[in-house]
């Protein structure tokens, strides 16, 4: 295992049975590594399997194949009992898109955060836990007085901070943010993104950030992985993948992002990738992007391209990468 790797995902598979003979290949042989203290962004179109990757890593889903090495141990093979015994659910936390739906409306913010502490036997007594809650609230930019209020009294951005405070309460090492800021106001989103970056630095956290906003992922991540129909098509450092994209899908995806610069938009002729993403149900052989790819040939339709190293921390799965 390479130095400092916190999470080493190897050939991960997650299938969903739909109907009698239909298998939906939501995650189909995905491998990547995340070093401790690093943020990996995961991007791709709706339905390509990003959330499923996150939920499987957090062991909210049972993997159907592959290994999930966390600190070198295959947590993918752990039973419910192992997970409990090793306190995995406190080490790996997930923050979701909808900050409202995930907070119980009948509990105060303080109770919501303290609940996790109690459950994991953190803190000696109630008074100590209350003090921890107050510190957490301050850490995410809220006030201690907020502990006595209910979720509906908070704005979307504040609720998302509460969700983050609750995740931090358990001292996690690894946090999965699934579209964690996409329900927020434009200006509030920036507050939360900056806070996540600061917390990462001050607490030594490691993140997997799932989003389909490519600009956001570029801002917050150190490395990025691009998914298409259950598979990784390109991965590497943010500078490499955004600066020198090589997979035709990544190129099309980046080209389609509108840029907040009128002069750029006036000169830029966008030729969007045509067609829809396709179905992950019982996929046949060949490159899954072949149906939309301008460079597809016979080889692409028959063989599945594997991720191959193309440069310094830059992997691409394509028979005809664009250079």
């Amino acid at each position: 295992m390479a130095d400092g790797v916190l999470l080493d995902v190897q050939h991960l598979k997650k299938y969903f049975r739909i109907g009698r003979r239909q298998m939906l290949h939501a995650v189909d042989d995905v491998s990547f590594q995340i070093r401790a203290g690093e943020t990996l962004g995961l991007v791709g179109e709706s339905g390509c399997g990003k959330t499923t990757v996150g939920r499987t890593l957090a062991r909210l889903y049972e993997p159907d194949g592959g290994r999930i090495l966390f600190h070198g141990q295959d947590i993918g093979a752990w039973s419910r009992r192992d997970i409990k015994k090793n306190n995995l659910s406190s080490k790996i936390q997930m923050i979701f898109q909808d900050p409202y739906a995930s907070l119980n409306p009948y509990f105060t913010i303080g109770e919501i955060i303290a609940e996790g502490l109690e459950l994991h036997h953190i803190g000696e007594n109630r008074a100590e836990r209350n003090e921890m809650v107050c510190e957490l609230l301050e850490r995410v930019g809220l006030h201690r007085e907020h502990a006595n209020r209910f979720p509906h009294e908070f704005s979307g951005g504040q609720r998302q901070r509460v969700g983050i405070a609750r995740a931090l309460a358990l001292n996690p090492e690894f946090i999965i943010c699934d579209e964690a800021t996409s329900a927020l106001d434009v200006s509030v989103q920036a507050q939360v993104l900056n806070m996540l970056i600061d917390l990462k630095e001050s607490m030594g956290l490691t993140y997997l950030v799932v989003a389909h906003d490519l600009s956001l992922v570029r801002y917050i991540s150190d490395r990025v992985a691009v998914m298409y129909l259950g598979q990784l098509v390109e991965a590497g450092s943010v500078g490499e993948v955004y600066g020198r994209p090589m997979h035709p899908y990544t190129i099309g995806l980046l080209d389609a992002v509108p840029i907040a610069d009128p002069d750029y938009e006036a000169d830029h002729v966008s030729a969007p990738i045509q067609g829809d993403i396709g179905s992950p149900v019982n996929p046949g052989p060949g490159c899954r992007f072949a149906g939309r790819c301008p460079y597809a040939d016979e080889e692409c339709r028959q063989k599945t391209p594997e991720l191959a190293e193309m440069g310094e921390d830059h992997q691409v799965a394509c028979f005809h990468p664009v250079r």
């Binding site: 434009v186 920036a190 600009s215 840029i259 969007p272």
Partner: protein, 355 residues
Amino acid sequence: MADRLITVKDLKVSFMTASGEIQAVRGVDFHLDRGETLAIVGESGCGKSVTVQTLMRLLQEPPAVIKSGSIRYTNGDIDMDIAARTDKQMRAYRGKEFSMIFQDAMTSLNPTTRVGRQIAEGILRHQDMSAGEAKERAVELLARTGLPAPETVYKRYPHTLSGGQRQRVMIAMALSCNPAVLFADEPTTALDVTIQAQILNLMNDIKRQRNMSIIFITHNLGVVARMADRVAVMYAGQIVEAGSLRDIFYGPRHPYTWGLLGSVPDLRMNLSARLASIPGTPPDLFSPPAGCPFAARCAHCMKVCMEVVPGEYAVSEGHMARCWLLDAECETEVIPPVGRDKTVFKTERKEEVHG
């Protein structure tokens, strides 16, 4: 000469709720010319949707109430004040003069009727055509939105289509009667960038071919840069800055606009750059502040800002902002942190502040 279709003056819209009056739109003025796209941007809850829904009179009244103002609509023989019309009178114009695309197509498509039939029925309501012709036209529209196999899509029910496909059906429906004005309320927010790009291209093509006007609501400043001719920036129920696309992106004058432009990640920003987030949250519209609505979050807030609402200051032809910093008597000099134009700017007040 610009052909003015819509002129909105001092529009105020409130919701009368059990817990009090929510002042959702608090005196907005703007206009729309034929063939142009006006983008409305701003925080969530600042009144963008309420504004355009009032223009089509789609709001449930009550609880919504138009407290004041006029919405003049002129097109050919039509010259009316939409604010003074009833819902019934407006029905004749919906679809034909104006139509709307919503963020969530599912809420505006009838789940129990095949999508093609829904489009054809809309056409038959407003146009003198046979059922066969209406069907042909519906299929043609579906094809234009880039949907593969439009004849089969015609026969499908909304729930059998993906989000992007439904959105394209709704666009076909909105365009089916050749409206003069299209209102698009976050039409691509729920879509992927590749589908979004297809739909934006389609809207721009149709706008050019038919000289249609569009009011486009979005949070996405990239989409604004791709679509808009002019931009109105809303904050807490007011338009705080308005101007041409270039005015707003390259020479913004309002501190909220600066914050907005600085807080959105851009694909080309420096990798080590930090987003400028605006501290705090927007004001509560139950009891909007007495002075400038942005005062509580503004780094340049002065005493006058908390007491009196700033009036409109003309920055240049067609570019206005509502901020005390622009007043000739204001002594604070601030250099805009974003945009290309880095000069301090003072101006005469365009109109006296009321009250």
